[in-house]
């Protein structure tokens, strides 16, 4: 892979292996994310993108290699301790709790550091949620659930956000809203790792793209060079 090693890497993943039971799904993932960057993991279904996020968060049953957040090696840590360092995940299935209303879902993740967004600011970004504060979490539309899943990790003070396919199955107008939101979050200084299938969406928000295949990162493309690499990328993604 292309070297972009810098001193300011916030997240540095090296030789990351991961397993679900007997099934070996990550075969040595290497990539880095610098502070303030938005980076995507692109790849086909089953390439290991979601597993990579889960492994970073400590949510895979077994993982080996190295995941450093700032100066801290997290490979042996449990997910709740990793979360306390300032990493938060918005999972692919969104993980909205049906026995909690919107407010309770929003307030669930504990504050782990100063500097998270205020509830007012969150409702600025997602005005729909404000009107539905008392609704049961899973009574929201798919788009609103996705917004809630993103919104609740913005409060916590986490600086690294792992977003797993936030646009999956959503209407174009909502995809645009989420795209604008990610751009605003980048301006606020959040660092974001985004898993995407939709590479046009990825291109509209990200600085760099890592291509994942068979549990490895096989290439890195700067967003600025994307046009020159469209053919290559389409071959990778099989579109």
């Amino acid at each position: 892979m292309t070297e972009t090693a810098t001193k300011s890497a916030l997240l540095r993943v090296e030789r990351l292996h991961g397993w679900y039971g007997e099934s070996h799904v990550l075969h040595g993932v290497d990539f880095e994310v610098n502070t303030g960057e938005v980076v995507t993991l692109l790849g086909r279904n089953g390439a290991g993108k979601t597993s990579t996020l889960l492994a970073i968060m400590g949510m895979l049953p077994r993982r080996e290699g190295s995941v450093r957040f700032g100066e801290t090696e997290t490979i042996a840590m449990q997910s709740r301790h990793i979360a306390r360092l300032g990493i938060a995940i918005c999972p692919e299935e969104r993980g909205i709790f049906s026995s909690l209303n919107v407010d309770e879902n929003l307030m669930l993740p504990p504050r782990i550091a100063d500097g998270g967004l205020s509830v007012e600011r969150i409702f600025d970004l997602f005005p729909n949620l404000k009107e539905r504060r008392r609704s049961q979490g899973t009574k929201l539309s798919g788009g609103e659930q996705q917004m809630l899943a993103i919104a609740r990790i913005l409060r916590t003070g986490s600086r690294l956000l792992l977003l797993d396919e936030p646009t999956e199955g959503l209407a174009p107008v909502i995809v645009q809203h989420i795209g604008r939101t990610i751009q605003k979050l980048k301006k606020e200084g959040f660092t974001i790792v985004l898993v995407e299938q939709n590479f046009r969406f990825a291109a509209s928000v990200a600085d760099r793209h890592y291509v994942v295949e068979q549990g490895r990162v096989i290439d890195m493309i700067q967003n600025a060079d994307l046009d020159a690499n469209t053919g290559k990328l389409q071959a990778y993604l099989g579109v």
């Binding site: 979360a83 938060a88 999972p91 709790f97 307030m107 669930l108 990790i153």
Partner: protein
Amino acid sequence: MFELLGISPQVLLGQLLLGLINGSFYAVLSLGLAVIFGLLNIINFAHGALYMAGAFVAWMLLHYLGIGYWPSLILAPLIVGAFGIVLERTMLSRLYHLDHLYGLLLTFGLALIIQGLFRHYYGVSGLPYRIPDILSGGHNLGFMFLPNYRAWVVVASVLVCFGTWFTIEKTRLGAYLRAATENPALVSAFGINVPLLIMLTYGFGVALAGFAGVLAAPIYSVNPNMGADLIIVVFAVVVIGGMGSILGAIVTGYMLGIIEGLTRVFYPEGSAVVIFVIMAIVLLIKPEGLFGRTA
């Protein structure tokens, strides 16, 4: 009207009160079971034994240490809860990834051991526990005589049930519990200590059983089988209410106590089985229980 049926209002109201008192125990015990099942996925068969242990701890506190009813009402549940936490840490926590059946077998075995120990040391004849002075006697309400202690049992159980329901449904801690019941992995990934939540939940659930035991001590004699007799009915209550439903456990507990009492008036022969008949009907018509969520 009652006279027409050959039933005096005294008998009817007396049995209603008795039913309400039994219902109070059903409610507190099935609530503890529901809380434990919700978060731990464990069917706590040791619940009856821990209820009995609560009554015995109160008796021991009084006879060995001279500690009376009111402090025991707090201390005995704490002691039983602490014992439960030891069980959870040393044994139950190893079973969470296995089928329900293993937790059931383990807790059933624990129940037999606990009951056996008390039977060995204290026999089966039962030990008396005096009603606290302030609650002895009763009031004549005109239509019936209401013993003060029995009124207190109903009030105390309602307060405890309401407090538990409120904590689980309306507070931040309760939101953690509900969320951890749905998706413990994600709740952990938000930085919440789920194993600690589980441990405290089990401790709290069995402390409720201990509390019910202390409440029961002055009414039923304190004896090693008191839990085993009750727990079968309580499991029927949980099944009728719906496994894991907090409100279902509470409402069904009181309701079935009252139905049992009424059956004793109108068809005494049926009073021992009425709850199980209702359970069979509910399982046929609504297998997830009256308040259960379809999984």
